[in-house]
């Protein structure tokens, strides 16, 4: 009820703004093109967000995985541009896609790009419906990469190496003790206690589970035969949300889970190094960036839908990660909003902002991808 009325209010102000811009005519057009000029020089290095004129409110909704990142970006953007208000409701990727397709929000956030196939029980295809609602192609812009950790709580064990096969066996309930020979074999020199392994999983449907099982299935198909899904298909005890699993591991000696980097960091959990076949890789911004670089672009032109290679054997690439997208209309219906959205996304993808995200548990997009996203944003209108 509350949200509805807020939205209604927002749309009323939106209409009022369209009115004012229509009156001011081509003057606003000149102003709106200003940010793209500034950004073409900015994509190389330093960027200052150019503020579009007027007071505009943008509403976004979706992925909770990118919540902290986008909130940080919004705060920074609003500090620079006082006229702009951006609301982001982290209600989950499913909700974000639904609201974006329904035209309820100006941009959506999602852990997975708009799908090209019809979902069970409905005949509509996300990408097609989104294009139809936009009246122009809807683009998936990768904006934030969130590494997923293999997080554990084991007293006295500060360094742990995991291979996909062993991780799959742990999460499948095949390996149940920490001192199992399979774990010991890849962790020479580490004293592992004879404690039971307590696996915790996300009991809610989540993009984190989806991406983590993508990695297990891609890198160790023999040990993890189940296809990826938002719903957990392994063993263990279920806890709600990332907070739930992280807290459970923190409170349970011998506990293990998969969680976003920020949650593992906050609860000071052990984070395993992942060995996909080219030696153990520690989780850092750089190793994640290397992995994103190996991703293939499957979208056409400025639609930057990515396909990550979870089984990557590239040395020094951390393989378990999710990329969250912003879903936008390539041609917005409302030019005033489009100008603000452009300026905001531009400041979000700017190197300074991306680097900042590392402190709150995300990894910056690699430079090549940053440049691609920046040029796609320039092409928005």
């Amino acid at each position: 009820m509350n949200i509805q009325s807020r939205r209604r209010l927002a749309s009323v102000t939106g209409v009022a703004l369209v009115g004012t811009f229509a009156l001011s005519g081509c003057g606003s057009n000149n102003n709106a093109s200003a940010p793209s000029n500034a950004s073409s020089s900015g994509s190389g290095g330093t960027t200052t967000a150019a503020c579009p004129p007027g007071t505009v409110t943008l509403n976004g909704e979706g992925s909770s995985a990118q919540k902290n990142a986008i909130e940080q970006a919004i705060t920074d953007f609003q500090n620079t541009c006082a006229g702009a208000t951006i609301n982001y409701a982290a209600t989950g990727s499913g909700a974000g896609v639904k609201q974006f397709i329904g035209g309820q929000v100006d941009f959506g956030g999602s852990d997975s790009a708009l799908s090209e196939k019809a979902k069970a029980g409905s005949t509509s295809i996300e990408q097609t419906s989104a294009n139809k609602n936009c009246g122009s192609p809807a683009w998936n812009l990768p904006m934030v990469t969130g590494p997923i950790t293999f997080a554990y709580n084991l007293k006295g064990v500060n360094k742990l190496i995991m291979t996909p096969a062993v991780a799959a066996k742990i999460f499948n309930g095949v390996i149940t003790k920490w001192n199992d020979p399979a774990i010991a074999a890849i962790n020479t020199g580490v004293t592992l206690p004879a404690e039971p392994i307590k696996v915790f999983f996300r009991s809610d449907d989540s993009g984190t589970t989806d991406n983590f099982t993508k990695w297990l299935h891609a890198a160790a198909p023999m040990d993890w035969p189940a296809a990826n899904a938002k719903k957990w298909s392994g063993k263990g005890e279920g806890k709600p949300q990332s907070t739930g699993v992280a807290t459970a591991v923190k409170n349970t000696e011998g506990g293990v889970t998969y969680a976003e980097w920020s949650f593992a960091k906050d609860d000071k959990l052990g984070i395993a190094q992942i060995d996909n076949g080219a030696g153990p890789v520690e989780l850092t911004g750089a190793t994640v960036g290397k992995s994103v670089n190996t991703a293939k672009q499957v979208g056409v032109g400025n639609d930057l839908k990515l396909k990550l290679d979870y089984a990557t054997k590239e040395a020094g690439a951390y393989p378990i990660l999710l990329v969250t997208y912003e879903l936008v209309c390539s041609k917005a219906k409302d030019p005033a909003k489009a100008a603000v959205l452009k300026a905001f996304l531009k400041s979000f993808v700017a190197p300074a902002e991306q680097t900042k995200l590392q402190d709150i548990g995300y990894a910056p997009l690699p430079e090549a991808v940053q440049a691609k996203v920046a040029s796609a944003i320039d092409a928005l209108s």
Partner: protein, 336 residues
């Protein structure tokens, strides 16, 4: 000579020229205020009925398409695959966990609540009864997320010992068999927290009815030589029984529908976990499962499956309340 029925003998004897017995002075014969109030009251009653009907219609309309496509028995299956095809979902697990949690909670909360109410109305000195009553009422003002976190972080770590003892002594009985779930996240822990959440409801209503016990009944019992406990057993408890039942049903409604606290404490089970009757198991209740997954209702079929589960909770609550109504009516007939 007033009596508990509220009708005095005097009322039934008409005056020499007055209206017939039990007639007011044209109390409801078309005065404006009367009509307005009557209309408003009727409107309020109809509104509630309309609301409940509409909720039922909404749940049904959302749930039926998904139910029609369900490939397994909705009531007896423990599967929950709502993402792809074939659609397979059943509520056996949800129903069992919901009922077990609430039943244990009520087993603890009702005797405790009645005891507290009896203490406040019959035993406590006047200076103590008011603060004690408000303190218990205060329990109802604590948000359920706080109960959830308290249960998980404070109560939970202490549950291991109790569960180990119960398991050792009664483990031969399926209800008490071990299930390998961390002791802070079991059905029993949730039930204990729920019982505390339900306690103020049971206590507040029972207190009110116990306080209404006619002093003539109590005095009569005492005059016949009853001790205080005997007086309570023969005068206060029979009089308050329908009230206690009502209170318990309200409390049960809360326990069945509790969402956040259950979600935070109880560990969900992985797919394919073997069925267990144990109260040391994990699981999900109707409400916690729906709330936990609400953010990802990305297809009508999926939403429908969860709505179907919601519908069962709705019907369950309805049936429980209907049974309570019948019990109360019987009780009343017995007393009168």
């Amino acid at each position: 000579m007033p009596s508990i029925t509220g009708v005095a003998a005097v009322d039934e004897i008409p005056g020499p020229e007055g209206p017939g017995p039990l007639r007011g002075d044209r109390a409801s014969t078309g005065q404006l205020g009367d009509r307005l109030f009557g209309g408003a009251a009727r409107g309020a009653g109809l509104l509630v009925i309309a609301l409940v009907t509409l909720i039922a219609v909404f749940l049904l309309s959302q749930a039926l398409p998904a139910l029609a496509k369900d490939k397994v028995n909705f009531l007896t299956s423990t599967q929950w695959n709502v993402d792809g095809t074939p659609l397979q979902f059943g509520i056996a697990n949800l129903l069992w966990v919901t009922v077990l949690c609430s039943a244990i909670a009520m087993l603890i909360a009702v005797p405790l609540g009645v005891g507290v109410a009896l203490f406040i109305t019959q035993y406590a000195p006047t200076w103590l009864s008011w603060p004690a009553a408000s303190l218990v009422d205060l329990l109802a003002a604590v948000p359920s997320i706080v109960y959830g976190l308290w249960g998980l972080q404070v109560l939970g770590p202490h549950m291991g010992g109790l569960q180990a003892i119960l398991e050792r002594l009664l483990g031969w009985f399926p209800l008490f068999s071990g299930a390998g779930i961390d002791a802070s996240s079991t059905i029993l822990t949730v039930a204990l927290v729920l019982s505390i959440m339900v306690l103020p409801i049971v206590t507040a209503l029972s207190r009110e009815v116990f306080a209404q016990t006619p002093s003539s009944h109590k005095d009569a019992a005492l005059a016949l030589g009853a001790t205080r406990w005997e007086m309570i057993r023969t005068a206060v408890l029979p009089f308050g029984k329908p009230g206690v039942i009502s209170a318990s049903m309200l409390g049960l409604g809360r326990a069945l529908g509790e969402t956040v606290a259950v979600m935070v404490i109880l560990s969900a089970l992985a797919d394919g976990t073997a069925w267990s009757w144990s109260m040391f198991n994990g699981g999900e209740t109707f409400a916690s499962k729906i709330a936990n997954n609400a953010a990802e209702f990305d297809s009508p079929q999926k939403a429908g499956a969860f709505m179907a589960a919601g519908l069962v909770l709705f019907l369950l609550t309805f049936v429980v309340n209907a049974i309570a109504r019948i019990v109360i009516e019987r009780q009343k007939a017995f007393i009168e």
